[in-house]
Symmetry: C2
C-alpha cells in the first residue's frame, strides 16, 4: 500500500522513467502515444507528485517579503506578530519570511521598500496605499518577475496579483446591520468616528454604514463623522463635546484607532450608553468588550490573513492556482461571549 512513485507510473505505462518525467514536467519531446499512456497510468494509479521530494530536488527555497507599516497601533503590531510567529514554522518548510517596516501611510517609504526588494525574493506582500507611486513600484516589481500581493489594504487591483483582506465597505455594512439590530425598530442617531477621511479604508467603512442604514424606518440617522487621527488623546478631547452636543446619540461606530480614549470617555459617560461598535480585536477593545462598554468588535483576523497570504504567495511562486481569498475572508463579529482567548501558547504533548 505504498503510494505510487513516478517509477511505478513509468512501469505501468510501459515507458522509461525519463519519458514519464518528460510528460509530467512537459519538457523534451514526447510522442502523443507515450504522453497518453503516461497520463492514463497517472490517472489509474492515482499518482500525485511528492511535493516535498520535488522541492528538495529543485532546491526550491522561497523568499517572501512582508512590507508592513510600523506604528503604535495595536493592529499593526498584531499583524507584525502574526508574521513573526509564522516565520520559524515556515522555515522548516523551505520558506523564509522577512519583514520590512515602513512608516504608516507614507507612500514614498512604501515605494522605496518595494524598489529595494532583491532579486532573490520570490513574492512580496504589502499593506498598500493606493497611490501612483506605489502602483508604479508594484508594476516594476512584476516586470522583474516578482509577484506582489496586497494585504489588509489594497492597491490598484490591476497591478497586484491578489488582495488578502476584508472588503471595508462590507465591514461598514456589517456594522450598520448590527446597529439596526440594536435599535430594534426604533429611531436612532449614530456617530461615526474615523481616523481621517482621506484613508480609503475608513471612507469605505463609513460608506458601508450609510449603505446599511439608508432607508431604515423609522430612520436611524448618521451624524457627520468626527476625525480623531487615530489618536486616543484627540478622542478624549473631541468625543465628549460631540456627545454633549447631541445627547440623543444612540450609537457609536469607531472606524479607526484611538479606542483607549473611547473606552475612557464611555466609562465616564452619564446617561444611557450608546451602542458601540469598534474595529479590531486588541487589548483595548477586548477590555471594552469584557467590561461591557463596547458591544461589538469587527475584526479582520490578521493571523488568519497572514497564513492565507503565505498560501497564496506559495501558489504564485510555484505557478499554481489559488483559491480566491475574497470568498472566505470576511469581517468577523465578536461580542463578549465569542471573543477568542488571547495569546494561545503552544501546548506541550
Amino acid at each position: 500500500m505504498r503510494r505510487p512513485t513516478l517509477n511505478d507510473v513509468a512501469r505501468a505505462a510501459g515507458v522509461s522513467y525519463a519519458t514519464a518525467d518528460r510528460v509530467l514536467n512537459n519538457r523534451g519531446s514526447v510522442s502523443g502515444k507515450s504522453r497518453r499512456r503516461v497520463q492514463q497510468a497517472i490517472a489509474d494509479l492515482g499518482y500525485v507528485r511528492d511535493q516535498q521530494a520535488a522541492n528538495l530536488s529543485r532546491r526550491r527555497q522561497f523568499q517572501f517579503r512582508f512590507i508592513l507599516p510600523i506604528g503604535n497601533h495595536s493592529f499593526f503590531q498584531a499583524l507584525h506578530a502574526a508574521v513573526a510567529e509564522e516565520a520559524p514554522v515556515q522555515r522548516g518548510d523551505r520558506v523564509d519570511l522577512s519583514i520590512v517596516g515602513t512608516p504608516a501611510l507614507n507612500a514614498d517609504a512604501q515605494a522605496a521598500a518595494l524598489d529595494a526588494v532583491g532579486e532573490d525574493c520570490d513574492c512580496v506582500a504589502v499593506v498598500a496605499t493606493r497611490t501612483e507611486r506605489v502602483t508604479a513600484a508594484i508594476r516594476a516589481l512584476d516586470a522583474r518577475g516578482i509577484g506582489v500581493i496586497t494585504l489588509v489594504s489594497d492597491a490598484a487591483p490591476e497591478v497586484r496579483r491578489a488582495y488578502i483582506g476584508i472588503d471595508n465597505r462590507t465591514a461598514g455594512r456589517t456594522a450598520g446591520r448590527l446597529m439596526e439590530i440594536a435599535h430594534g425598530a426604533r429611531a436612532g442617531l449614530v456617530l461615526p468616528i474615523v481616523g481621517a477621511l482621506q484613508a480609503s479604508d475608513h471612507r469605505d467603512r463609513l460608506d458601508g454604514l450609510h449603505d446599511a442604514l439608508a432607508g431604515t424606518m423609522p430612520a436611524i440617522e448618521i451624524l457627520p463623522a468626527i476625525s480623531v487621527q487615530d489618536r486616543a488623546d484627540l478622542m478624549r478631547d473631541m468625543l465628549p463635546r460631540a456627545l454633549a452636543a447631541r445627547p440623543d446619540i444612540s450609537g457609536i461606530y469607531s472606524i479607526g484607532a484611538g479606542n483607549r480614549g473611547l473606552l475612557e470617555v464611555l466609562a465616564r459617560h452619564r446617561g444611557p450608553r450608546p451602542f458601540t461598535i469598534v474595529h479590531e480585536l486588541t487589548p483595548v477593545t477586548r477590555e471594552g468588550l469584557s467590561g461591557g462598554l463596547f458591544d461589538a468588535v469587527i475584526d479582520q483576523k490578521p493571523a488568519q490573513e497572514v497564513r492565507r497570504a503565505i498560501e497564496v504567495m506559495k501558489a504564485i511562486a510555484t505557478g499554481n492556482a489559488w483559491r480566491d481569498p475574497a470568498r472566505d475572508i470576511t469581517p468577523a463579529i465578536y461580542v463578549k461571549e465569542n471573543m477568542p482567548l488571547e495569546g494561545g501558547s503552544p501546548r506541550a504533548l
Copy 2:
C-alpha cells in the same frame, strides 16, 4: 545565503556529521562537550531542520482517518466535503486522509468504526458521542499507540488528545447576547427549538442561552424548548402551534437542524417577525439570511476546523507540541452582510 544544513552545523561545531546528527536526534552517546558545541552551532547558524527532507528520508507517510456521521444534514455534508477537499492537497504533502461514515448518533457504530482502525493509521479524528462504548474504544486505540482527537462533538476529555470544535455553551451564550442586543432594553420572550435534549450539544447551547439571558432587566424570558428531531416536517408541524399559543414571542433560537421548515413557517408568518438565530451556514440558512427571514447565523466554520484538525494530528503523529485549539476556535456570527460567499473555486493564474 544558502540555508545551513546539518553538515554546516557539524563543520561549525568542529565535529563530524554523525555526531551532529546524534545530538540533533538524541541517539547514541555523546559527550557533554560535543553536545554543547553542536547546540551552540545550531543556535549560531540559526539551523532549522528541513522537514521535507526529513520526512522524505524517514519515508514518513501519515495515514489519518476521519470518522464522520453520515446523514442528510447539510452540516455533516459540509464537514465531509471539507475533508474530501483537503485530501488531494494533503496527499502531495505525504498525508493520506480516509473517511469512514457512521450513522449519526449511533454510539455502537462509532465504537465499531474506531475498533476497525488499522495499524497503519497514525491518528484518528472522530465526531464523537460521549458514551461508555466510545470512551472505551478511544482508550483502546490509544493503548495501541494511535492518538484520537475529537471533532465538532467531544468525548470524555480524559481519553482524547484534543478537541477541535466550538464550545457549545459559548455558542448558546453568544446567541443569548445577540438576543439581548436585538431586544434593546425591552422585555421579550424567546422560543428555543432543539433537535433532542438528549444531544449534549443541543443541551449545552440551550444552557448557554439561559446563562446569557438570566437576570436581564426587563426580563427576556425563555420558553420551554420544543423538540423537532432536526426534521423540517416536524418543524412545519410544531412551530406554528407554538407561535399561535404565544403571539408575544419576540425571538426564536433554532439550535439544531430542520431549518428549511423554519424558513417556510417564517415566510408565512403574519405579524411582527421574531428575531431569529439559527446554527450553521448551509444553503438553507444562507437563503434565510439573504431573504431577511433569519437575522443571524452562528457557525462553526467546518472547513477551518478540518484544517486545524489535520494540523493537530500531524503534531500528534510527530510528537510535536501544538497550539491549544480552544483559543482560536470560537463560534462565528454571520449576518446578511458578512456572510462568506459560497463555493470558492480555485482561481487560475
